[in-house]
């Protein structure tokens, strides 16, 4: 038998992406088939429908949307924390045997993990937010602007991306999944509840949530831009540092 999979020359760009996409697809397939995903989506749909129906008489679009979006920060973040912080560490035992001993580079693997977990978070968030907005628009009192609504949704999406990158980053750095989850829980809830107390509002998802009704109504301040910049910087730093660490470490 002769080799049919090419020579030792440098891989082309398309070929290099092959391993990346294979890991992204396999990871997403595993995530969307997990019971955690079904449980999350069912529970979130149930809570959204109940809370929107109970707001029919006195609720407005801004309050219902803000309340639904804040659930992602306080409640559904737990699902994201669990899945992001276990992304790499849970595969530690099989990583060398089943993936890294193949034609895969360190960056292929770690960037694929970031991509798949971010995609998973955003797909789940988009589906639930579409339902939330659809329900909220059926209310009688509309106090939103389209730009404000879009801004609020994008801000929460960015916050969840930050949480996911922190989770994957800790999963790369920590020696086991439990430690990574505990570290992320401590970090996330410190950012959410403790940062506003010490005046770090710009880096706090909790402060963002309290501003959501105004953002949905169309109010956008310089401080919101600073929040965006802060979250983007944290996401970028987490991705870059943990990728560099994964590149250096022994598997």
């Amino acid at each position: 038998m002769k080799s049919r999979v090419g020579s030792s020359g440098q891989s082309s760009r398309g070929e290099a992406l092959g391993a990346f996409w294979a890991i992204v697809q396999a990871d997403l397939r595993g995530l969307f088939r997990s019971r955690i995903t079904y449980g999350w989506l069912l529970a979130a749909v149930f809570i959204e429908v109940i809370s929107t129906l109970s707001s029919r008489l006195h609720g407005t679009t801004s309050t219902v949307v803000s309340s639904g979006l804040s659930d992602f920060i306080y409640l559904w973040s737990l699902v994201i924390i669990g899945l992001a912080a276990s992304s790499v560490s849970s595969e530690a035992g099989e990583l060398a045997d089943s993936i890294m001993s193949k034609s895969v580079t360190r960056f292929d693997y770690v960037l694929a993990k970031f991509a798949s977990r971010i995609a998973y978070t955003l797909i789940g968030f988009s589906a639930l937010t579409a339902l939330l907005v659809g329900l909220a628009l059926r209310l009688e009192v509309h106090d939103y602007t389209v730009l404000g609504l879009a801004s609020a949704i994008l801000l929460i999406a960015l916050t969840l991306v930050m949480l996911t990158t922190l989770g994957v980053g800790l999963s790369v750095a920590m020696p086991n999944t439990v430690m990574a989850i505990v570290a992320l829980l401590v970090l996330w809830y410190s950012m959410t509840f403790f940062f506003p107390v010490v005046g770090l509002n710009l880096l706090s998802p909790g402060s963002l949530v309290s501003n959501l009704p105004d953002i949905v109504k169309g109010a956008w301040s310089w401080g919101d831009w600073e929040t965006v910049a802060g979250f983007v910087a944290i996401s970028g730093a987490s991705t870059a540092l943990s990728s560099a660490y994964f590149y250096m470490k022994d598997i």
Binding site: M1, K2, S3, R4, V5, G6, S7, S8, G9, Q10, S11, E15, A16, G18, A19, W21, A22, I23, A26, G30, R33, E91, G93, E94, A96, D97, S98, I99, M100, S101, K102, S103, V104, T105, R106, F107, D108, Y247, M248, D250, I251
Partner: protein, 322 residues
Amino acid sequence: MGQRVIEMENLTKVFGEKLIAVNNVNFAVEKGAIFGFLGPNGAGKTTTIRLLLGLIRPTAGEVRVFGEKMTPESSNLRRRMGYLPTNPRFPSKMTPITYLDFAGKLFHMRKEERMKRLSSLIRSVGLLGDSSREIAGFSTGMITRLGLAAALMNDPELLIFDEPTSGLDPAGRKSTLELIAELGKEKTIFVSSHILSDIDRICTDVGVIGEGKGIFSGSIKDMKKRTRSRVVRLELEGDVAKLCEALKASQWVVGFETRGGFEVDVTFGPEMPMAEAVREVTNLVSRLGLDLISVSSSTSSIEDAFIGLLRDEESRGFLRAV
């Protein structure tokens, strides 16, 4: 000298500035060889293999595979290699079909090519009936067979097997060794083991590692020759004491040892050819009127050769220390 597929040059790996797992190892494997990598448990075999695959970085020295330096980013080199780890672990929720398809994608194989290859491999390793079952419920033997299929998925030029017969029953062990011997006809194979008879049976060349240090590299024949113990073992009936007296007086005997009153190991000096030594000792037995039940030479045992090498290295290490 043939084309070298693997070259290790002063290869060293120190974990956490505490444990020297691999210490200045130099081995070379030529194209087409079945290279047995021997060493006791904890000698550094798996660490060397991980260095060879670029899964860990050397502290000093380097590994070259197909003439190029191996690093964690050398995906182009791993594309030409197949690896079967000891007790391999695979994603438990996948099935043999989904895992082999995934492995094929990681080797950048086209869909048509992947499907063709995985269906033939699943059949070859006897997993056809379980091809759609989750790996989670597989036995050790089934996982090893799946690992073998995954190692062959990309039709590699170089195969690396880390203790391939570990945990297998005698039938599985036999078929695995036969398969390695068969694959060795067209591929270069690097196989680690501490089961000496396995290595003796299938390998053309051998490298021995002990406490992280490379202590021998060459053909199996050379290894046995180098550590030739020149011992003839006799099993006798009669007055063994009489033979012992005669051996004491003999010029060509270096030493002897009796066991259980009926077995005698006679050690000869290096100047005496083995055939002549056997003739001399059997003549002596005959002259003394003893019954010879059996006679054997232990020069052909790879176990003795291996233990001899480890013992030599230990004493050399002690001498270096003092």
